[in-house]
């Protein structure tokens, strides 16, 4: 077996592969169907970044919490959310995971520990630390993972939250998906030191930078961080360097709009996290190419069912406009 995959159980490797493929195909289904204009909400796709949620969440249990952001489809899928409630939410249907009220930017799946995604950049970070505080107060063996971007690292609330988490040794893992851009602003236009993981040291906590397109590397780094958190060792800051293939929002690429270079995109497409992983798995005889194709066919079918389900689901009723503003006290 290839060295890099060593010590990762075969089942886990298969799961990671399958998760990445599920995320990629879900996002591609959106790309395919978005022009129909039936998904009437802004979509922030994570194509190109699949190794991060897949590698991290392979270390988590259903009870573990996940907090995420506007680019959250992949985090939910990796944490175990089904396609149907996600797809129905994108279609604004009452069967959606947020009852149609949230749309793509506001997904939730409490059964799988996804406690809601915020589209205010950085907004989910302190809530994730609060979740970790709650589980530590209750003495649970629960870990919280917070996914956020390099843009969210700009926000003061990241530093405030990381400081508190380290001070209180909370069971939380900070996963920064560094795709080098916040909308169209490159990281270097916003940060003097483009090495986010190093800032952890200032808070007396470990920080690691991993190749975010290498699912095995992400898995290993986050396994260590999750284990440390679970044992009471406090937070870790993982910086996963990766790249989004599509524009900041919507199903199209954006290099023609003058935001980023085509060459940069081509370079990163050549480093596709899924292709690279598939090659390694095939070369190590962990999954055959035929099984991979079978897997893809199964996912495609599941996706088609989810789309059909979403399309035929009803919209929220008129009275739903004013429901849920306050929680019931019943």
């Amino acid at each position: 077996m290839e060295d890099l995959l060593q010590k990762i159980p075969e089942e886990t490797l298969k799961n990671i592969y399958s998760t990445m493929l599920r995320i990629r195909m879900f996002e591609e289904k959106i790309v395919e169907l978005y022009p129909e204009q039936e998904m009437r909400c802004p979509v922030h796709l994570c194509i190109g970044q699949e190794a991060v949620p897949a590698g991290v969440c392979a270390n988590l249990h259903a009870m573990d919490y996940v907090f995420s952001n506007h680019r959250g489809h992949g985090h939910c899928i990796a944490k175990g959310s089904g396609f149907k409630p996600l797809m129905a939410e994108l279609y604004g249907k009452s069967t959606g995971c947020s009852g149609g009220k949230g749309g793509s930017m506001h997904l939730i799946d409490t059964e799988n520990g996804v406690m809601g995604t915020s589209a205010i950049v950085g907004g989910g970070i302190p809530m994730g630390v609060g979740a970790a505080l709650a589980s530590s107060m209750r003495g649970e063996e629960r870990v919280t993972v917070i996914f956020f971007g390099d843009g969210a690292y700009d926000e003061g609330v990241f530093h405030e939250s990381f400081n508190f988490a380290s001070l209180k040794k909370l069971p939380v893992v900070f996963v920064c998906e560094n795709n080098f851009y916040a909308t169209n602003s490159p990281q270097s236009a916003r940060q003097p030191v483009c090495r986010i993981s190093e800032s952890a040291r200032a808070f007396n906590a470990p920080g690691v930078c991993v190749d975010g397109n290498d699912a095995a590397a992400v898995y290993r780094a986050s396994r260590e961080a999750v284990e440390r958190a679970r044992k009471g060792g406090g937070p870790t800051l993982i910086e996963a360097a990766t790249y989004r293939w599509k524009g900041h929002v919507g199903p199209e690429e954006d290099f023609e709009k003058g935001f980023r270079d085509r060459e940069e995109l081509i370079h990163w497409k050549g480093r596709c996290p899924i292709n690279a992983f598939a090659e390694r798995l095939a070369a190590s005889d962990i999954i055959s190419r035929r099984d991979m194709e079978g897997l893809a066919r199964g996912i495609e079918k599941e996706l088609d069912e989810a789309v059909a389900y979403a399309k035929k689901s009803p919209y929220p009723a008129e009275h739903d406009l004013l429901s849920d503003v306050y929680a019931d006290n019943g």
Binding site: G100, M105, H106, F259, E318, L322, V325
Partner: protein
């Protein structure tokens, strides 16, 4: 006067002015850009800050090309650090500069409320008038396509509650330019709330400098039966409603508030004394909203003239839903205004 009219886009504008008889049409977004360019040319203290101000999109076109024209030193792309950046802009304003800080959405203002409310708004009073913060903050209201709860809020009433702040909401391209100029020239923090749906609206905008006074509302359409006090995008809906009601024999007077704080209560009461009826139309929520202030001003200033209970048209008391089915129910418009006014007039 041509600048009191506004058209949804350039086509409509050009149809209304076939020869363009000395009347230059400009879209709202371009009026903002033009005001900014002129201000930066006139005054080296003026600079622009904000997320994406120097990118190819340029805040929906309103800051497009500024970095090429004036350099990145005066068109500063910022990190995602709203409170810090607001404080930095406030500090620069305190010490002699005239910053224009741009937010893509009003919804990001809550992150900077500490610097806005506790600092910028207080500096003049707290130090006995020995210093001031001439800061201009632009923020855009989003709407539609499932923008949802965190990307479509109208938070003007929070800001309008704070002494020391001025809040303006231009509804026409002419006012967008004139109020932005006035804001930058003002010695106080001024917040300009723009509505995304106005960005293509086209109207007459003169070249060169002029200001629209902060604190002055304007009558967009005169009428004797009902006063409609509207703001921002809702002025447009109110004018459509007034046109329809005219066909049904009801003459509406449409007031464009333009400035939310300090509100031009004089113009509202003057109009209500004439019409005896008042409808406020806001882009925000009802409770403790701008409509409440409008109605209070009429009750205080024209109590004896009121022939009917004033009506507030506003958003339902819920955050914005994403689903298109609910979004369609969420926003009031011409139809709701017409309905409310017919009901009010018929009841008398």
């Amino acid at each position: 006067m041509p600048w009191t009219r506004t058209y949804r886009n350039r086509d409509e504008f050009e149809r209304a002015f076939p020869q363009n008889a000395g009347v230059r049409g400009l879209a709202y977004r371009d009026a903002i850009l033009e005001a900014t360019v002129e201000l930066m040319e006139e005054d080296s203290r003026v600079f622009v800050m904000g997320q994406g101000v120097d990118d190819a999109g340029g805040v929906f076109g309103t800051t497009k090309g500024l970095h090429e024209r004036f350099g990145k030193g005066r068109c500063i792309d910022t990190a995602l650090a709203e409170n810090g950046i607001t404080g930095i802009a406030a500090g620069a304003a305190l010490c002699g500069m005239r910053p224009i800080l741009a937010h893509m959405r009003v919804d990001f203002i809550p992150l900077s409320l500490d610097q806005i409310i506790n600092h910028a708004a207080k500096w003049s009073y707290m130090f006995g008038g020995r210093a001031s913060v001439p800061l201009t903050i632009r923020a855009i209201i989003g709407r539609g396509w499932g923008s949802a709860a965190q990307h479509s809020q109208s938070l003007q009433s929070i800001l309008a509650n704070i002494p020391g702040l001025k809040v303006v909401m231009p509804a026409t391209p002419y006012d967008a330019k004139g109020l932005l100029r006035a804001a930058v020239k003002d010695n106080n923090p001024v917040i300009i709330i723009e509505h995304r749906w106005l960005y293509d609206h086209t109207g007459h905008v003169p070249e060169g400098p002029y200001t629209v006074p902060i604190g002055k509302a304007v009558v967009r359409r005169a009428g004797k039966d009902v006063t409609i006090a509207a703001l921002s995008y809702m002025v447009y809906e109110a004018l459509l409603a007034a046109e329809e009601l005219k066909g049904r024999g009801i003459e509406c007077e449409v007031i464009d508030l333009r400035t939310i704080k300090p509100m031009d209560t004089g113009l509202i009461t003057e109009s209500v004394k004439k019409t005896g009826r008042l409808v406020s139309v806001d882009t925000g929520w009802r409770e403790c909203g701008i409509g409440a202030e409008v109605v209070a001003s009429a009750v205080e200033g024209a109590f004896g003239s009121l022939k009917a209970a004033p009506v507030r048209i506003s958003l339902p008391e819920a955050p914005t839903p994403a689903s298109p089915a609910l979004e369609a129910l969420y926003y009031p418009g011409k139809k709701e205004i017409v309905y409310a006014i017919e009901k009010m007039v018929r009841a008398v």
